[in-house]
């Protein structure tokens, strides 16, 4: 007979989790990252959740980290991959060469803050996007929670990129900090559901897949 706690854990596998490594129930909520080193570090990208990626510098591999996942999602699912407020032009030849299906990729530029939040929520909640890559404005905690719930509802993966030094409190399922480390990119796991200790690794991210 299951205990009440076990029943709750079984009923809400995403919202309730045990702070222990190797929880087998979590695997099905993870998207394969495509990099073996990232897989060793994280297990995978959490589905139906927000992942925060913080870095002070652009161009140190923040997109290359996700590229195999984006390519796989664009080929496996008919849902969109939405790029919300990208700081530069997502370069089509590079994305196509990496295997991203560009007909399943949308770019959106809401101008006002209110519209930006509305767009993010509608994209995450609707279930029409497999992944939402966003460069959002600074979000207060209530907005972060709202977007986290929207991602759960729509079973979308939200990847939010921030350029800041200190991470604020956040309900995100995963928070990474990227730093350049010579020829590599250092990925530091600042927060991960189910993790007991902080982890970090220096990854070699190829320029082309």
């Amino acid at each position: 007979m299951k205990t009440a706690v076990e029943e709750l854990l079984a009923r809400h596998p995403q919202r309730l989790w045990r702070a222990e490594a190797g929880n087998p129930g979590r695997q099905k909520h993870l998207q394969d990252p495509g990099h073996s080193e990232v897989r060793d570090l994280l297990g995978g990208w959490p589905r139906g959740a927000i992942t925060e990626i913080h870095s002070q510098v652009e161009g140190i591999g923040e997109l290359r980290l996700l590229l195999p996942t984006i390519a796989a999602l664009s080929q496996q699912e008919k849902r969109w991959i939405l790029w919300c407020l990208p700081p530069y032009i997502p370069y089509a030849p590079a994305l196509a060469a990496a295997g991203v299906r560009l007909d399943r990729m949308l770019i959106i530029h809401p101008r006002q803050r209110q519209d930006q939040l509305w767009t993010l929520e509608s994209a995450l909640r609707s279930g029409t996007c497999s992944a939402v890559l966003a460069w959002p404005p600074a979000l207060e905690e209530a907005a972060q929670r709202r977007l986290q719930l929207a991602a759960e509802t729509g079973n979308s993966m939200g990847f939010f990129f921030y350029r800041d030094v200190v991470s604020q409190r956040s309900p995100a399922a995963l928070r990474l900090r990227l730093q350049p480390a010579g020829e590599h990119t250092r990925v530091q796991v600042e927060k991960r559901r189910g993790a007991t200790a902080p982890a970090a690794a220096n990854l070699e991210l190829p320029l082309a897949i």
Partner: protein
């Protein structure tokens, strides 16, 4: 098959038009002889009666409003109703024997036979709470109108199902016929109360006593004489326009009338649908026009209102609107939504979300990128609308390209000269006047960023053009 006509009568349209929002205690209208000609329910409650002298009515209920007829508004409302009726029948006519009466021919209409309640419901919704209507059904338009006059407000009146029309029509009271008071009094003095009583008189005598026009009227009523009438003009365009009951300056106030306009147009469109809609709002001295595009034809009122809400809350009209006009543009045949499989649902949901984004953020805010066969990096991609089908552009076997491209190259100072083997020369563009000659290479900046830089061979200057993000 015998013809079947549905008559729609507005017994007090001229008066009720003035009190559609229900703010007045009651309204009545006088005729040229200064007698009460029409009144609304509020005036009837105060004891006003048709035919009462204006002085008497004023004395009885001085708080009531006495209005003049507004022929234009009356015609516009009848026109909207007629256009609505055209969705059910090939011919709609005005019954000019009464001031505000229409009839639609329903013979052979499978939609009517399958769901008669749908038409009645549409008419009742059109009339709303403030306009009284009477409905009658008969093989001739005149009989349908007289049945309607016999019935109660809002209810459909027709002859008993177990009796034929030739039996029923004879029971129609003569007092309902649109004759003047003198003739009505004469019929009554002769003991003629129903059409059946009339029929028992000798035909020649009837014509001599009451005039041949009533003989012809009764023949048309019975269906033994043709009753040719000009059809009500059918609008080629799908437009609904009406004055707003109260001035509207925000979305909450506009939502209800806009829904009403959409539903009216949807009924008229029938098997057609539109992806382009134009809304025109008019105030005292201001006008606001806004277009809405949708990916798929809009047939759901909820989605229609959702899209307009996104648009109008972003682009408010900024004045008190008094008149609304909605036009469905570029209508096309619509066979209904197809299928309900998961993928089709996904496509529909994606289409609806795209429409909402566009309505709120603007059409240009959402796009896709596609590669283009050009060596120059800034021309090797282009943006397309999300609906554009994927074109297979053969990608040349090039060195790795950056994931971020800068909108414009930025001048930079590069501290070391790259090796020749690291360079990728890109030249071309003489054919369109954007000639370039550049040597591209990777450059790790001091902060660790992996940059895509070129040296312009003409100016010998360095530019940052992208990031290997």
């Amino acid at each position: 098959m015998a013809e079947q006509w549905l008559a729609v009568i507005f017994p007090a349209l001229a008066a009720e038009l003035w009190n559609l929002d229900g703010t007045l205690p009651g309204v009545w209208i006088a005729d040229t002889r200064q007698r009460v000609w029409q009144m609304d329910a509020g005036a009837a409650k105060q004891g006003i009666q048709i035919g009462m002298s204006a002085a008497q009515a004023r004395a009885l209920a001085p708080q009531l409003q006495v209005m003049q007829r507004d022929a234009e508004r009356e015609f516009n409302l009848l026109d909207r109703c007629a256009q609505l009726l055209y969705a059910w029948g090939p011919q709609v006519v005005a019954l000019q024997e009464w001031p505000h009466a229409l009839a639609v021919e329903l013979q052979g209409n499978s939609r009517w036979r399958a769901r008669p309640q749908a038409l009645l419901q549409a008419i009742r919704e059109f009339a709303g709470e403030r306009l009284r209507i009477r409905l009658g059904l008969a093989p001739t338009s005149l009989a349908a109108a007289l049945f309607a006059w016999q019935g109660k407000d809002g209810e459909l009146c027709h002859g008993p199902a177990d009796r034929s029309f030739t039996e029923c029509w004879q029971e129609i009271p003569l007092k309902l016929l649109p004759a003047n008071d003198t003739l009505h009094a004469r019929w009554e003095s002769l003991g003629l109360y129903s059409c059946g009583d009339w029929l028992r008189l000798d035909r020649r005598e009837r014509a001599l006593r009451f005039g041949p026009e009533w003989e012809r009227f009764l023949d048309r009523l019975r269906g033994i004489r043709a009753d040719p009438r000009s059809p009500w003009p059918l609008q080629e365009e799908f437009v609904v326009a009406f004055p707003l009951l109260q001035e509207v300056s925000d979305w909450q106030g506009l939502r209800f009338p806009l829904r009403r306009a959409f539903q009216e147009l949807r009924l008229r469109l029938r098997h057609r649908a539109s992806t382009r809609w134009e809304l025109l709002l008019q105030g005292r001295d201001a006008q606001y026009r806004q277009l809405l595009h949708s990916r798929d034809p809009l047939t759901s009122a909820e989605l229609f209102l959702q899209l307009w809400q996104e648009r109008l809350q972003r682009h408010p009209w900024g004045f008190a609107a008094r008149h609304l006009q909605l036009r469905a543009m570029d209508t096309e045949n619509w066979a209904g939504e197809q299928g309900a499989f998961w993928e089709q649902n996904l496509l529909r949901e994606q289409g609806q979300l795209l429409d909402r984004w566009r309505a709120r953020l603007g059409v240009d805010s959402i796009y896709r990128v596609q590669p283009r066969a050009d060596h120059r990096p800034e021309y090797a991609w282009h943006s397309v609308v999300p609906e554009e089908s994927e074109t297979n552009t053969a990608l040349p076997d090039l060195r790795p390209r950056p994931l971020w491209l800068l909108p414009e190259p930025i001048p930079v100072s590069v501290l070391h000269e790259p090796e020749t083997s690291e360079l990728e020369r890109i030249e071309g563009g003489w054919w369109d006047g954007h000639d370039v000659s550049r040597d591209y290479f990777r450059w790790r900046r001091s902060d660790g960023a992996e940059c895509w830089v070129f040296r312009d061979r003409r100016s010998a200057r360095y530019f940052l053009h992208g990031y290997f993000a």
